[in-house]
Each structure stands twice: as structure tokens, then as C-alpha cells.
């Protein structure tokens, strides 16, 4: 210790003395920094891992499906300027039958090249071996599906391809960046268990789909800097005469879209939420530093009396503040790295990445440390300036007894109503409103954080609830292989166990408004649809207009369109017409970014009257099995999905995908709230320990002395509760929008439940903190507390 100056030794011993409080402050700032480092690291890691995975397995940038194109067309595609590689493959829809399912499961069959690896769209073999090209019955199965259905290499399965049923043997399980998320056609939510991908030899698949010497999907990789729209347009020109179904870029690829949206969700959470935590922590740090330095007033005066300059004294206290801030920020950074790594590991499994490229965002460390140091300095500097303005003689005296005469009005009333300790509490509040308000605002901020986070949990539940009870009131949804006439609807309605049927037509479309585009679908709903509806902002059913399109809020935002604007719809099926449609209204977004039209208006625009691509069903109770067994033999039926399964699937995405962050954030918010309340209690105790010891000496009981301290804490908490509720509203709005993505929209929920829960959390923290300081107060050694001024 001899190499340290006496001031530095004082610093270390002071830190040790206030270790409880310093630790509590450091812990709160650590949580703020941790959240920042963790979230930015997670986003960076996911982004980088995604890119690395895409590159390593050569995911193409453009997909060009076509009816049937001869192999030589690939050469023409390769000549398109900007195209660096081309791969042609055969894919087809299949139905897999497995034992425990009544209905066959929809699947996509994808060809493997006859020799070597695919130039584009390669796969990662997770288990087993590649199929022998000479053995037509050998297939690879998508690992996610196999895991969900407990299938493994060596298992047999049968599949119907192009009307013919064949037996297969699984030789291995594969992963592919192309199928991280799999969604059955016509459904909106990915579900590992209800859609399969199988890879098999090109010859075998070509034979099944009559594609000998031909391909029905071209994959294109682009040169750096090539124009994707230009390549897509050129590919469409080449493939259109052969039945091109419209080339599209990676951004419109379903699995990539989902993953990208999840990462975008993580990014907007990472941008919006950690700064809130860090801000709350920084605020607390500033307040507590202010009070710690305030308590050192006499020692500051003494240092100045000895001839220490303002600068030397300031540096000494700056070191104290920095020590706390840096320990907090440092611990936060380390925790953030550990938590980020753990989260990245979890998400790597969840997103089915075969490997993980863990990276951190150096800016998060800079921001975290700078904010901590800045807040600590700002909090302490204000007091130091005030103390420096005093002459040393004044600074060294304990502050003149606060003037309580002004509270005379209160006291006359108070004297009648309150006992002596009660009056002490009230007078202090009256005399030092700034200090009390500061403490109350600190607690209110912590509470607001909890209100927002609790409201967020309800927001997720509300989205699922509205989407599956108010918006979609059916029990099941069927999808046809192609748009069918209304006869199919009548046929369904006649089946036993089906109580009502409503037609729906989903048309895939490219929507355009100005420079903004969105690839999605227009959903045509019947005029008096009751099973599936669009909702307005107040969640009331919206009557679809006779003409015009209704956009969901998310889609309206993406396109930058408002009611009255005219948007262009490039229909991607049938005759592929281009339609100019006025936006009639905006509907509430819950899941995805849908666009609605009246079914008859949509059919009229497509010049295909009376068509439906599927139907919503209301089933008789317990009739599911019966209905499934009847409809499985309908030739045009592509699939049937129970609403309950879809609800579980979206719940799964919300609870295990980026939405799961809400649980982590809720936990952190709870700890921060507790930390703030605990700090308030500790500071109140530190400031009043001497007074309280004096009270005990002159004969007050432990309970009475504790009442003065806890009464003050209680009053601060009572002031904080309404403030916290009000601030919680703003916090809820901020947090809900930060957690919303294009996959799901989280509404602002600010209700009695979230306020009440947060209030309980604050009260519980206050009771616990109060109990801890009360314990310290009970143990206080009266004589020494009075002797040493600390």
C-alpha cells in the first residue's frame, strides 16, 4: 500500500466502507451495459453467422421457378450480365405419410446433382450419408422435420409424388440455409412438424415429375455489384415462354424472409431496449453519486483547508465515481459477453445454424463505458461544483440545520394528526423536496421499465388471442392445389362434421407503391365473411369495400401508402395481370402483413369469377378425425391445417424466437427495479444513520427510529407509484414497437394488470430493502455511530 498516496488509500477504504451501496449501484449499471453488449453481440453474431452459412452453402441470390425448361436454357441464364453461377434443379410437391397422422404431410422434394455437390443451394449433411445416385429409393430428409417427427436414418417412409405412391428409405438428415424456416403453402406460420423437405437423386426425381433433361427451378448467383432487378427481369424474359412463374430475389424467399425479420426484430430490440436500461441505470448512477459526494462535504472542506486545490479534490472524488462506474461497466461488459454467447448458442440451435460465428460489437463497449462514466461524472460533478463554491470553513461545518420553520403550516395540522416520528418524516419531505423527488423519480423509472415489460408479455398474448379468436374464428383451413370453382365449396359444406364453410382466395402478388415493393399475397374474403375477417384499429370487424384494397398497418408502412393512394398489384399467377387498385382502408396488423379484397372484386379483377384457393371451416365438436378422413381423398386438396396447430406454431415462434427476449428483458427489468429501490433505501439509511442513532440515544425505541427511516422510504415509494404508472405508458409504447416485426405486431398494452404487477414488484422490493436497512439500523452501535462522522 505504501506506493499509494494517502488520498488513494482513503479512496480504497472509502470504497470498502460503502461497498454495499457501491455494489448495488455497480450492479444496476452492470445490467444496463450487459443488456447493451449482449443484444448487440447477439445481433452481430446472428447476422454474421447467417451470412457465413449462406456463403458456405452457396445459397443463390435469385430463384427462378418455371413449368419445364430444357437443360440448355441454363446456358442462356448464365449469359445474363451479372450472373456468376447457375444451377438447374427439379423440385416438386409431395405428400408424405407417416403412422401417427391421419392426413399426409406436405413436402417439397428437391433434386441432388448426379455428381458432386450442387454449385448453388448446397446442403449440410448432419447425420447419415448422401443417397446413392444409383438407388432411386434413397432420400435425405430435412433434419428439423425428422427431429419433430422422431425420424432417423434407416427409417422407411412412403410418399406420393405426382400422383404415384412410392416407398423410400432415409439415408441421412440434412440442413440447408434455404430451409431454416419451412411453411406449408397457404399458411403463414412456419412449423417444422408440418412441412418436410426431402432430397433425392436427380434421375429419380426427374422420372417422377417428367423432367428428364429439363429443370423446373433455376438458381442464380450474382456477381458483386450486379443489379438484382435487372437479372430477375432478364431471367423472366428467358423463362416466360416456358411457363416461368416469376423469378424472385432472396429478400422474397420465405425462409430467408422469416430469418431476416427475426434478426431485424432482434436489431430493433437491440437498438431500442438496452438504451432504456442503460439510461435508467445511468440516471440512478448520477443520483446516487450526487448523494454520495454530498455526504463527503465535510471531508472535501477539510481537504481544501489543508491546501488541496479544487482540481486535486475533484480528481480524488472523480476516481471514486469512476471506480464504481468502471467496475459496474466492466462487470456488465463481461456479463454481456457471457450472456451474449449463451444466447447466441441458444439461437444457433433455434435457427438451426450448423455453426456459430460469435462476434461482439465494439461500439457497445464504448457506449456502455462512456455512458457509465459520463453519468457518474455528471452526478458527482454537480455536487462538487456546489461544494467548491462554499468556503472551506463553511464546507467543513455540517450543513446548517435545515430550516424547518417554513413547514409551520404543515406542522400545526401534523401535530394533531401525527406523532413525533411521523412529523419528522413529513417535515423532511417538505424541507428537501428535490432530494425526495429525485429518489422518487429514480424508483418511478425502474417501475416504468417493469410496467413496459409486463405490458409486453400481455401484448404477445393479445396478438395471438386476437389473431386466432377474433380475426380467424374458424376451426380449420383447407388449401386447394389450384383455384377451384365454388362447386368445391359446396362439396365441402355437404360433408358430415363440417358446420360451415367460407371460401378464401389467396393470390400471390408483388405490390408496388412508388419505389416500395412487397411480395406477398392478396386475401379475398367473402362479403359477409364471418369465420375470417379483417379488423379495424379498434379490433372491430371491418366491412371490405366493393372495390379497392385494404392494407394491414404493417404493409401500409412498408409501402408508405395511405387510404386514397393507388397501388400497383402484379399478380404472380394465372394470366399474371397488372392491376392498379386504390387503398380503401387500413386494417389492424397482428400476424404478417396481409392485404384484403372482397372475393368477388378480386375474382373480377382476375377475370376468374367464382374461384377460391381454399376455405375456412367450422367443424362440429369432436368431428376432426371424421372430417380429416373424408377430405384426405379429395383430389384437389393440398392440405388442411387445424387452427389450433397454427396457433401453437406462432406461439412457438414467439416464445423461442426473438420474442423469447421478452422473458430475459422482463427478468432484467425486475432486477433493475429492485436495485433502484434498494439503492434508495441504502442512501436514505446512509444519510440518516447519525440522526437515527441520536434518536435512539435520546430514548426512541428501535421501532420508532425505524419508522422515521422506513416512513421516508414509504413516502418516496408512494410518490413514485403514480409517476411510474404514467412513465410506464410511454415505456410500454416504446417497448411494444421495439418488439414488433413484420411477422407479428405487438400492440401497446397498458392496463391495470401491468401497472398493478409493477406496483407489487416495487412494493415487494421496498419491503425487502426496508427489512435489510432496518436490520442494519437495529444493529447500529449507538456510541460509535455518534462519534465518527461518516
Amino acid at each position: 500500500m505504501t506506493f499509494l498516496s494517502p488520498l488513494d488509500r482513503k479512496l480504497l477504504r472509502d470504497l470498502w466502507r460503502i461497498k454495499g451501496q457501491a455494489g448495488a449501484i455497480a450492479a444496476v449499471i452492470a445490467l444496463g451495459v450487459m443488456t447493451l453488449v449482449m443484444m448487440s453481440g447477439l445481433v452481430n453474431t446472428l447476422e454474421l453467422t447467417k451470412t457465413a452459412y449462406y456463403e458456405r452453402y452457396r445459397l443463390p441470390q435469385v430463384f427462378a421457378p418455371v413449368e419445364r425448361a430444357p437443360e440448355r436454357i441454363l446456358d442462356r441464364l448464365a449469359e445474363i450480365p451479372g450472373v456468376s453461377a447457375v444451377e438447374g434443379r427439379v423440385t416438386g410437391m409431395a405428400l408424405i405419410e407417416i403412422d401417427d397422422e391421419i392426413l399426409p404431410i406436405r413436402a417439397q422434394a428437391v433434386s441432388l446433382p448426379a455428381h458432386g455437390r450442387a454449385r448453388l443451394g448446397d446442403i449440410y449433411l448432419a447425420e447419415g450419408r448422401l443417397p446413392d445416385p444409383a438407388r432411386a429409393e434413397e432420400v435425405l430428409l430435412l433434419k428439423a422435420f425428422a427431429d419433430a417427427r422422431a425420424l432417423k436414418p434407416g427409417d422407411a417412409l412412403s410418399a406420393t409424388m405426382n400422383g404415384a405412391r412410392r416407398g423410400f428409405r432415409v439415408t441421412g438428415l440434412a440442413r440447408s440455409p434455404e430451409f431454416l424456416y419451412t411453411t406449408a403453402p397457404g399458411e403463414i406460420v412456419p412449423d417444422d412438424a408440418r412441412f418436410a423437405v426431402l432430397w433425392m437423386s436427380r434421375d429419380s426425381l426427374a422420372a417422377a415429375y417428367d423432367m428428364d433433361g429439363a429443370f423446373n427451378e433455376a438458381l442464380l448467383a450474382l456477381e458483386r455489384g450486379a443489379s438484382e432487378p435487372a437479372v430477375i427481369a432478364a431471367a423472366d424474359r428467358i423463362l416466360d415462354p416456358l411457363g416461368g412463374r416469376g423469378a424472385y430475389g432472396l429478400a422474397d424467399h420465405q425462409s430467408n424472409f422469416f430469418l431476416t425479420e427475426e434478426i431485424n426484430g432482434a436489431r430493433s430490440t437491440a437498438v431500442a431496449v438496452p438504451p432504456i436500461f442503460l439510461g435508467v441505470s445511468a440516471f440512478l448512477l448520477a443520483i446516487t453519486m450526487h448523494r454520495i459526494v454530498q455526504a463527503e462535504r465535510e471531508q472535501i472542506g477539510l481537504l481544501k483547508a489543508f491546501g488541496y486545490t479544487d482540481g486535486e479534490t475533484a480528481i480524488h472524488y472523480l476516481k471514486l465515481m469512476l471506480a464504481i462506474a468502471l467496475v459496474g461497466a466492466g462487470a456488465g461488459a463481461l456479463l454481456g459477453i457471457a450472456a451474449g454467447r449463451a444466447m447466441a448458442g441458444l439461437y444457433t440451435d433455434y435457427y438451426k445454424f450448423p455453426f456459430l460465428v460469435f462476434t461482439l460489437d465494439p461500439r457497445s463497449f464504448v457506449t456502455g463505458f462512456a455512458t457509465s462514466v459520463g453519468a457518474a461524472t455528471a452526478g458527482g460533478a454537480g455536487v462538487l461544483r456546489a461544494v467548491f463554491r462554499l468556503s472551506p470553513a463553511v464546507a467543513m461545518r455540517p450543513p446548517a440545520p435545515a430550516d424547518y420553520t417554513a413547514s409551520g403550516g404543515i406542522s400545526r395540522l401534523a401535530r394533531r394528526l401525527l406523532d413525533q416520528p411521523g412529523r419528522m418524516v413529513l417535515r423532511r419531505l417538505h424541507r428537501q423536496p428535490g432530494r425526495m423527488l429525485g429518489a422518487a423519480i429514480g424508483i418511478a423509472t425502474g417501475m416504468a421499465l417493469s410496467v413496459g415489460m409486463i405490458g409486453l408479455q400481455s401484448g404477445f398474448a393479445r396478438t395471438v388471442d386476437l389473431a386466432f379468436t377474433v380475426l380467424d374464428r374458424s376451426d380449420a383451413q383447407v388449401t386447394f392445389t389450384h383455384a377451384m370453382s365454388e362447386k368445391a365449396i359446396y362439396e365441402l359444406a355437404r360433408l358430415p362434421g363440417i358446420e360451415s364453410v367460407e371460401p378464401v382466395r389467396n393470390v400471390s402478388v408483388l405490390l408496388r407503391h412508388g419505389l416500395e415493393t412487397h411480395r406477398g399475397a392478396i386475401t379475398g374474403l367473402g362479403e359477409s365473411a364471418r369465420l375470417a375477417r379483417a379488423l379495424d384499429a379498434e379490433q372491430r370487424p371491418l366491412t371490405l369495400p366493393e372495390d379497392g384494397i385494404v392494407l394491414s398497418t404493417t404493409l401500409a408502412q412498408v409501402l408508405g401508402a395511405a387510404p386514397g393512394d393507388v397501388i400497383t398489384a402484379e399478380i404472380r399467377e394465372g394470366r399474371r395481370p397488372m392491376l392498379d387498385i386504390p387503398v380503401a382502408a387500413v386494417a389492424d396488423s397482428l400476424l404478417g402483413a396481409p392485404a384484403y379484397m372482397r372475393l368477388d372484386a378480386l375474382n373480377l379483377a382476375l377475370k376468374e369469377p367464382g374461384r377460391a384457393s381454399g376455405a375456412y371451416l367450422r367443424l362440429a365438436p369432436g368431428a376432426e378425425t371424421q372430417v380429416f378422413e373424408t377430405v384426405r381423398d379429395m383430389p384437389a386438396l393440398a392440405g388442411i391445417a387445424l387452427k389450433e396447430d397454427m396457433r401453437l406454431a406462432i406461439q412457438e415462434v414467439m416464445d423461442n424466437g426473438m420474442g423469447a427476449m421478452r422473458f430475459v428483458m422482463l427478468t432484467i427489468a425486475g432486477i433493475v427495479t429492485f436495485g433502484i429501490v434498494y439503492n434508495a433505501a441504502r442512501i436514505a439509511y446512509a444519510e440518516r444513520a447519525r440522526d437515527l442513532a441520536s434518536l435512539r440515544v435520546i430514548g426512541f425505541t428501535r421501532g420508532e427510529a425505524a419508522f422515521v427511516l422506513l416512513g421516508e422510504l414509504g413516502l418516496i415509494v408512494m410518490m413514485a407509484l403514480p409517476l411510474g404508472a404514467v412513465a410506464g405508458y410511454g415505456m410500454s409504447a416504446l417497448i411494444a414497437s421495439a418488439f414488433s416485426t413484420e411477422i407479428y405486431t405487438i400492440p401497446l398494452i397498458f392496463d391495470a394488470h401491468s401497472v398493478a404487477s409493477a406496483t407489487l414488484a416495487v412494493l415487494a422490493s421496498a419491503v425487502f430493502s426496508g427489512w435489510i436497512v432496518k436490520r442494519d439500523l437495529d444493529r447500529i452501535e449507538l456510541v460509535s455511530a455518534l462519534k465518527t462522522r461518516e
Binding site: 482513503k10 466502507r17 477539510l302 481537504l303 468556503s391
Partner: protein, 242 residues
């Protein structure tokens, strides 16, 4: 040596019309109401008076801890009333030592470290050990304030004040919190410092008996000096009738 060529001793302090007012208007408190004073170097001066008579205020202004409202106060060739904060800090650092009634030790530092706090920034200090030996606390130098008695704490405070070899030692009620035996011992240390190091000592007290050990006694009442006495014979602190 100035004493050889000039028969009048060099002045340590000289004030003219020094006033200090706290607050404003009706609430104003006049702590000093025009003090004129000349104090020679090397004396032990006792400032006597009731609480609120202005003695501590004068001490604080002469010590550079506080500022006068009007008038002038000189230490040798320093005009204290026109000094900037920086110059006052320099003055305290280079010339002045303080001893306070409540010791004002840093509780987080040992006796030796409390002294070091001052020797660190002084120009020509003695070693902390030497200073503590002077007050008879050498053996207890590694103790924290909480482990020392009141008298011992005050002696640490004196060691801390003299370790920088100050020109002036200001003591504000140095025995105010002490019993008679301990008080005498502390006063003896102060007298020794004055004797052996030639340090000018200004000591504020309301204990009239202390006056007997001084070269000069200033009696205060109501913010002004109403009498200055020069003791022809001085008593040693142990001879003082407490």
C-alpha cells in the same frame, strides 16, 4: 535577520476595518464589525470570547478558510482579502496549519496517513513519523482514528497541522472536546511547537484560564475586539488552573 536591523518585530497579521456579514437585510448576522489588529510574528495568541463573539470568524478569515465582507487582512506581504481562490489555496498550503475542535481526521486513514495527507502537498515538510513523535504518538501511528482516544486524535490533528512546518498554526477550540488532563497535554504540545519551531499560534477558545499561557490575549465580544492584553509572565500549560 530582520530582528537585528529593525527593533520592532516583524508583523505576522495586520487587519483594518475587517467586517464579516452572513445573510442579507433583516436576517443579516454581523459576525465581525470592523476589526483593527496587528500581531507580531512568533507569538502565541489566544482569542477569547463567548460563542458568536466573532473569534472563530476572524480565525477563519486569517486562515484563508473564509472571506471578509469588507476591510483588509494581511499576512506578511499577502493581502488576503484580495486573493483569488487559487491564491488562498496556495496560502493555506504553504503557510498555514489547522487544528479543529472536533479533530476532523479522515476516518478512513491511519494516524500516519492523516499526517501524510498534508506532507504530500507541502514544500518542506517533516516526516509524518517525526511529526507524530513531536506530539508523543510515534508508537500509535498505525492506528485508525476510531482506535484513538479524543486527546490522541487531537494530537494527531496537531501533528498533521505542524508537519508542513507552517508559519502560522490556527487552533479552533483545540481542547473544547477534551478533559483537563488531556487538554493540558494538548496545550503543552501547542506551546512546545511555538517555542521550539517559532511558529506563530492563534488559538481560539472560550476557556479563559488558557489565556495565562499566551503572549497576547485578544478579548472578543459582539464581533469586535474590546481588549488586547500582553502577558508579562506566562504560565506553562501544566501550571494552568483548569
Amino acid at each position: 535577520m530582520p530582528g537585528k536591523t529593525d527593533t520592532s518585530p516583524r508583523l505576522a497579521f495586520q487587519t483594518e476595518g475587517l467586517t464579516k456579514t452572513y445573510g442579507e437585510g433583516e436576517a443579516a448576522v454581523h459576525a465581525l464589525r470592523g476589526v483593527d489588529l496587528s500581531l507580531p510574528d512568533g507569538e502565541l495568541v489566544v482569542l477569547l470570547g463567548a460563542s458568536g463573539s466573532g473569534k472563530s470568524t476572524l480565525l477563519n478569515i486569517l486562515g484563508g478558510l473564509d472571506r471578509a465582507t469588507s476591510g483588509s487582512a494581511r499576512f506578511r506581504d499577502h493581502e488576503l482579502t484580495t486573493h483569488s481562490d487559487r491564491a488562498l489555496t496556495r496560502y493555506r498550503r504553504d503557510h498555514v496549519g489547522f487544528v479543529f475542535q472536533f479533530y476532523n481526521l479522515m476516518p478512513a486513514l491511519t494516524a500516519e496517513e492523516n499526517v501524510e495527507l498534508v506532507t504530500e502537498i507541502a514544500r518542506n515538510p517533516m516526516s509524518p513519523a517525526e511529526a507524530l513523535d513531536l506530539v508523543g504518538l510515534g508508537p500509535r501511528r498505525h492506528h485508525f482514528p476510531a482506535q484513538l482516544s479524543g486527546g490522541e486524535q487531537q494530537r494527531v490533528a496537531i501533528a498533521r497541522a505542524i508537519a508542513k512546518r507552517p508559519d502560522v498554526l490556527f487552533c479552533d477550540e483545540p481542547t473544547g472536546a477534551l478533559d483537563s488532563t488531556t487538554g493540558r497535554a494538548v496545550l503543552q504540545v501547542i506551546a512546545d511547537i511555538n517555542e521550539e519551531l517559532g511558529t506563530t499560534v492563534l488559538m481560539v477558545t472560550h476557556a479563559a484560564h488558557t489565556a495565562a499561557m499566551a503572549h497576547r490575549v485578544l478579548r472578543f465580544s459582539d464581533g469586535a475586539i474590546h481588549a488586547v492584553e500582553v502577558n508579562a509572565t506566562r504560565l506553562a500549560p501544566r501550571e494552568i488552573d483548569w
